[in-house]
């Protein structure tokens, strides 16, 4: 028997990357390849009243343009199935794609884009999720009456509950409250979003992608192109950093549509500026905690109100709101938990997945809450965590059972490596039993 699992081995594909021989998608240059650039909304919210691309189309070197009308399938993509590839009417965020110009090079694309005549009737946007929840706030999604995601028809709050939180607070000796806000972060990988598309000899659409989830995206792209999966060869595997940002389509739809229309290889890539300003971001969370604790340090109740700003479209945000709520009480046994979680639309760029998606928000905030509790009790912060840390068989907010827990073991190891001397009664504790 061989035993490779457990061995420290260098990355299988590392040599190519450190010697600069790995070919990334943007390294692909094909004979006769065209380039695409997108017309983006200059306003945060509004209605397109007039779009004239004729002067752009007549620019020498321009092969043609793409708008919503050039989408052979459905003009819809995104994890929530609500984003238009090219927005034909109601703009929801600044930078939203309206059209594309396809030309012999990117400079020509940019020159042509300057000749586009675009008139948008600007509307009042809303950027703050608490403003967006007020009555009379600007409505982000046309045709709706409010800015809250509905988990089921009419259900705008996802409730996750374990035990009875009121009873828990009645038993508590101390209640600590806290309100926390997390940041909107960009993935900023070295490689911005890029895609190369062309037709192969069997007339199959070939796309070189930086996607981190081929089948998620393929399922969305077949709808946009109106093609069966067998007619798309979707090649990924070499990615210059993603951190969750490439869990959403940013370029393959545009490159693919251009290749289908003009029947030539097309490269579409975002600049760093476009990536930083208009690509999806980590969404802002506001977490309101009310935590009940006994004098001896045992946590007895946790009531969390959670607010997640999804931006202009749904993305994976509702999923993330729920996932955050499931774990936002941290790795602790708390018999009574109530989570009330909302996902709110605003006129900002779309919130998407990012490393630690939906988890970093709840962990960071609950841990500050724990710090405050230790301080209020006058208890050593290690002790507070050791007392409450999950053991095998404990239950989390959505009633999952903890198995194979290494909670205390991780903390003991950290103390040991950092030279923190933990008292014997803590060292004697184990995640196997309480």
């Amino acid at each position: 028997m061989t035993q490779y699992v457990g061995q420290a081995m260098p990355r299988y594909d590392g040599i190519g990357q450190v010697t600069g021989t790995t070919k990334y998608v943007d390294d692909i240059v094909l004979p006769g390849m065209l380039y695409a650039k997108c017309l983006r909304s200059p306003v945060h919210k509004g209605i397109i009243r007039h779009l004239d691309l004729s002067a752009a189309e007549r620019t020498p070197g321009v092969v043609g343009v793409l708008t919503a009308q050039d989408v052979p399938g459905q003009n819809i993509y995104g994890a929530s199935g609500d984003q238009p590839v090219f927005n034909p009417d109601h703009i929801r965020y600044k930078g939203e794609r309206i059209a594309a110009v396809v030309a012999v090079d990117e400079d020509t694309c940019m020159e042509a884009l300057e000749k586009v005549k675009l008139e948008i009737e600007e509307q009042e946007p809303v950027f703050d999720m608490f403003e967006a929840m007020k009555p009379g706030a600007p409505i982000v999604r046309p045709g709706t009456t409010h800015n809250l995601h509905e988990y089921m028809p009419g259900m705008t709050t996802r409730v996750i509950k374990l035990g009875d939180v009121e009873q828990g607070f009645a038993e508590a000796d101390l209640i600590i409250e806290g309100r926390y806000q997390t940041t909107q972060q960009d993935h900023a990988p070295i490689e911005p979003h890029v895609s190369v598309a062309y037709l192969d000899p069997a007339n199959r659409l070939v796309i070189h992608t930086v996607s981190q989830c081929l089948y998620f995206h393929l399922s969305q792209l077949v709808r946009v192109f109106g093609l069966p999966m067998s007619q798309i060869r979707y090649i990924g595997g070499t990615i210059g950093g993603g951190f969750g940002g490439k869990n959403d389509i940013h370029a393959d739809h545009v490159a693919g549509l251009a290749a289908l229309k003009f029947r030539k290889p097309v490269k579409y890539r975002e600049t760093r500026r476009e990536d930083l300003r208009y690509s999806g971001k980590r969404g802002v969370f506001v977490m309101e905690y009310k935590t009940g604790v006994k004098k001896d340090g045992r946590l007895v109740a946790n009531h969390i109100k959670e607010y997640h700003d999804t931006g202009a479209y749904g993305g994976f945000s509702a999923y993330a709101t729920e996932k955050c709520g499931m774990f936002a009480s941290g790795p602790y046994w708390i018999p009574n938990i109530l989570v009330e979680a909302k996902t709110i639309y605003t006129n900002k760029v779309v919130s998407i997945s990012m490393r630690g998606f939906a988890i970093i928000n709840g962990q960071s905030t609950m841990e500050i809450q724990m710090g405050k509790i230790a301080e209020a009790l006058g208890m050593d912060p290690w002790e507070l965590r050791f007392i409450n840390a999950w053991r095998d068989g404990d239950m989390g907010a959505s009633r999952y059972i903890v198995r194979g827990a290494g909670a205390l073991e991780a903390m003991k190891k950290a103390a040991e490596l950092a030279g923190v001397q933990l008292p014997a009664h803590l060292m004697a504790m184990s995640s196997r039993r309480r």
């Binding site: 600044k94 950027f127 997390t182 760093r272 970093i360 194979g404």
Partner: protein
């Protein structure tokens, strides 16, 4: 200090990966997987898992996640690959070995259960002398036929951590979680009370990962996670002047991610292993979690330094100075 968790796999289960292992006519293997590699090293660890499952030298296995006709992997997200894809690989290896036994039994008029595969040697138990073949001979025979029956020896495997279970609308119940990893993080910081800047001097982070398939890559993930977490904690914001959104960063120079200059003088890494019942050899995913340790650990160290609990991220110099002013004014921040 901070103590955090990271759940492995997408929420609610029903989150499959597939794998295909083809035995090539010369006795080498190609592992086809749909798991994309963002830099975390999916092909590297899945090759290690495949080599153990097949019992062959690792050099015999080529991993491709960039071919056409890749089998499905839901995504490389949610730290799911290390928990889920190894099962698909092991199942594909078992399926391939089953096919090899069947083919071998057919050639030697034996019972498939009596066919023994010892790494790269195949024989009928009790009749080793007469029947023994190398895997290369098996592969060649099955591929080219000739004096043997031809067979397409391609192993297939799929796995998911339980069927999907939607949230119960009343209670939010969703009991299916693939696995949970645990992290502990410690920070030592220096706060300049005049400028509000925070310097992380020492940082330690330990992750309990079930089984580290590749400890080098685990360490690299903890390292990378620090940078994302420290950026989240201290500097990164796409709307630094919110509620105004008119100013937004547009180049790396005005989007403040940590660089080597911001890296702590001392970084301590640790790996702890408590094998998880859901993992291949106990392994569970953790890597995204390594971003979650730094923000609360840094916030806790800042409290230790200046006596204020900061409640918003990023903790920019402005946030620190305002907190100090509020403290001085006797108002609870």
């Amino acid at each position: 200090m901070a103590y955090v968790l990271h759940p492995t796999g997408n929420k609610g289960g029903g989150d499959p990966s597939h794998a295909v292992i083809q035995l090539k006519p010369d006795g080498t293997y190609v592992l086809l997987i749909g798991a994309m590699d963002l830099g975390q090293g999916a092909p590297t660890i899945l090759r290690q898992v495949a080599a153990d499952a097949l019992g062959v030298p690792i050099e015999k296995i080529l991993v491709s996640n960039y071919d056409n006709l890749l089998p499905l992997s839901v995504s490389t997200s949610g730290s799911r690959v290390t928990l889920i894809d190894p099962h698909a690989v092991v199942n594909a290896a078992e399926d391939l070995k089953r096919q090899i036994r069947e083919w071998f039994a057919q050639q030697h008029e034996a019972n498939p259960e009596d066919v023994e595969i010892e790494g790269e040697t195949v024989y009928v138990r009790g009749d080793r002398e007469r029947t023994v073949m190398t895997m290369e001979q098996v592969a060649m025979g099955a591929a080219w036929g000739g004096g043997y029956e031809p067979a397409s020896l391609i192993g297939r495997g799929a796995w998911q951590p339980g069927k999907y279970h939607a949230h119960d609308p009343e209670t939010g119940e969703m009991p299916n979680v693939g696995a949970i990893s645990f992290g502990a993080a410690l920070a030592e910081v220096e706060v300049d009370t005049e400028t509000g800047t925070v310097d992380v001097l020492r940082f330690a982070q330990v992750w309990e990962v079930g089984k580290a398939i590749n400890p080098l890559l685990v360490r690299q993930q903890i390292n990378g996670g620090y940078c994302i977490g420290a950026g989240f904690a201290l500097t990164e914001s796409c709307y630094p002047y919110f509620p105004s959104v008119e100013y937004a960063p547009e180049k790396m120079g005005d989007y403040f991610m940590p660089t080597f200059e911001d890296y702590p003088q001392q970084m301590i890494f640790g790996i702890e292993e408590v094998p998880h019942p859901n993992g291949v050899q106990g392994a569970k995913g953790f890597s995204e979690g390594s971003a979650s340790g730094p923000p609360p650990a840094i916030a806790s160290a800042i409290h230790d330094a200046i006596g204020v609990w900061i409640t918003e991220f990023p903790i920019t110099p402005e946030v620190i100075l305002r907190a100090l002013e509020a403290k001085q004014a006797g108002v609870e921040s």
